[in-house]
Symmetry: C2
Subunit: 468 residues, 2 copies
Amino acid sequence: MNMRQGRDGRERLVVIGGDAAGMSAASQARRLRSPEELEIVAFERGHFTSFSACGIPYWVGGEVPERDDLIARTPGEHRARGIDLRLRTEVTEIDVAGQRVRARDVDSGAESWTPYDKLVIATGARPVRPDLPGADAPGVHGVQTLDDGQALLDTLAGTPGRRAVVVGAGYIGVEMAEALIHRGFAVTVVNRGREPMSTLDPDMGRMVHRAMEGLGITMVNDAEVTEILTGADGRVRAVATEDAAYPADVVVLGIGVRPETALARAAGLPLGTHGGLLTDLAMRVRGHGNIWAGGDCVEVLNLVSGQEQYVPLGTHANKHGQVIGSNAGGGYATFPGVVGTAVSKVCDLEIARTGLREKDARRVGLRFEAVTIESTSRAGYYPGAAPMTVKMLAESRTGRLLGVQIVGREGAAKRVDVAAVALTARMTVEQMTALDLGYAPPFSPVWDPVLVAARKAAARVRGAQGPS
Amino acid sequence: MNMRQGRDGRERLVVIGGDAAGMSAASQARRLRSPEELEIVAFERGHFTSFSACGIPYWVGGEVPERDDLIARTPGEHRARGIDLRLRTEVTEIDVAGQRVRARDVDSGAESWTPYDKLVIATGARPVRPDLPGADAPGVHGVQTLDDGQALLDTLAGTPGRRAVVVGAGYIGVEMAEALIHRGFAVTVVNRGREPMSTLDPDMGRMVHRAMEGLGITMVNDAEVTEILTGADGRVRAVATEDAAYPADVVVLGIGVRPETALARAAGLPLGTHGGLLTDLAMRVRGHGNIWAGGDCVEVLNLVSGQEQYVPLGTHANKHGQVIGSNAGGGYATFPGVVGTAVSKVCDLEIARTGLREKDARRVGLRFEAVTIESTSRAGYYPGAAPMTVKMLAESRTGRLLGVQIVGREGAAKRVDVAAVALTARMTVEQMTALDLGYAPPFSPVWDPVLVAARKAAARVRGAQGPS
């Protein structure tokens, strides 16, 4: 039994999970506390640390040439900074009362306990793998880890066929559809929802649908996959729904992830309705002063809805890690919550959202006005001006901004950041109409599309109140 | 004497100036009040209405093919909406006590008085034309009006030489430098300041300087033009400074504009220290309940400095017009002020600023911390990731954001909008570190450059306060 704590008087911080949240926390704690003050032990069951899972579709698609381009910091770099990183070592139990974790060497199977003074849980997410016949057949791939990405690339290179089916039409699904097009595949996306990108309202998802079809992607909506069909060699041949079967030489599962919180659940730590760990604003696990959690295994507060939400995104994981490391290292930082911003693209189509969709607003009891406008990314007369659709939701009566969705081409997606800041500041759409946004013909029409939407939303809110 | 008022009982709104602010005001008032309720008379001394002066450099440079592409709404379109537009008619006097304006037909010289119930002053700006020998010589051009642009294009087409000198290195100067490069000219920019783009701090201006040189532009700083030299034919030959003479086949004056407020001054209306009209939040001229003013002839409140500022920009002019038209039409709207956002580009170099520079902050008594960071427009591993420099100023102690300057390539300029909203909401840089900005590898590093700057600024503010 490893029991260094107390022997040399150093505090020990144990980190479970060697990806964005865990290693950001370890690195930030190390910045604040020297190895003489704080021992940091990090357990990672895989081979890699600190890689960009969000980058995998672009590696598969060939825009990013090398796997290692996605690795922000290698195990050696972490060790050189005085972090005792133990790869291929899986934590199998958290003993909260005993302040220790049990870890198993994946290769040898050997187990041992490691005591901690402070614990960081950054166990991430696990992909939703449908409980379907054939889901484990060769040629069916998830894209969660670097190993997944390599396996998919091997399949793409090895299969003589050129038909791909993507199951799921969220961020991963649409990004993988693009990647497979870049690799020369004919792509069918099978989606259980009414339209792709269910993080958008259906009217905006419909625009994504049309654009994907314009790119030559076959989009199948309202379709539940029932089975993955294999041939005599056991390899995938088709994806079956209730109504049809879609021939496939390769299948990519892009149907999202869930918090990986089995360890936390077994340890009796508090989980929310989405299955993620619940933390306070300093990212401490609620009710546990010396345990923090962050990244894809936690729920976060949505500042617009006032409710916890599950938002597995690398950018949040990095922020969580930074906050946790600051606090665990004796400093102070908080993560106040999210507003629900996300951006993506399919080829040259840009997709962005922040805040609440119509159904989110209804679910939390908000009455709203919704408007949609068409504008352009640049002054209409400037070359390259591309159409852009902005949908905006504002609370009835107060006029408070509730959400923005944008679908367009170059220059569309990052415009959502304006709305993200306005949501954080709880601005009204009327206040937004006066925002001093950057204007020059190569960058924006004289009224930025976000302002055009705000003007229409403000007029709608006023109109709903009767003449003023 | 035209004296329709009272005859048919309609109110009359008179607008002086047929460009962005004036015609936006007229159009918005017309939306709210029918011709049966409100007569609208607009006087414009030129030939055009509602044109995009900001677009002239791109027309001269050839990106925008036709002059008429820059005209947002023609005189005929305004008249079709029931606006009595009188072109080539210059207002020569405002009689505030008598509620009337005197206008002169530019072609015939005939003058007449027009009474008003409500007046909008949108007289715009006049270019600063240096009082220099030779400044009126053929081949020396301003770029304020469409006529100016046409004259410059004629000169560019007619001159066999290919040497251009741009006087001034602000927005107009750098944009005209790009335009002249596109037209195949060898360009020298003569600038009285220490670095180009004096709306940036000199350290950021220095980056613009280097980038302009990289584009083949000869940049001459700290140089006051003393004379424009002409040949025996009277045409321009060179631009002289105290130390040197720069050969020139064409000279473009890009040294800014001043408020065109001679009429207002003669009428005794209140002007600010920059020579612009002073208004209240509803864009009413202070102390005058039935006179509004907007666009390039007014000063605006800078919400960060708390002082009036002169910011001649089309986007503000349009907002002013919209606010004025709402109020003059019996509705309600306000223009709360600006935060000083501006974006520009020279070829593929993007330049943006918002809030206060170091010298602005000092001038208004603010103590601050300034930080500068280097980041990229996309995830570092994603193709096309371009370097970006972000400078951020935060108030000492409070940590309130004071200003942001950005120099970079694609994706740099409009990132300043995040800071513009944060300034409006009076956020601290510490609050900004938690902003939920859009992240995906094609659009941003996992920490957006603005957040990287905010983190560094927040640490600097904390550090300056000693350990917390």
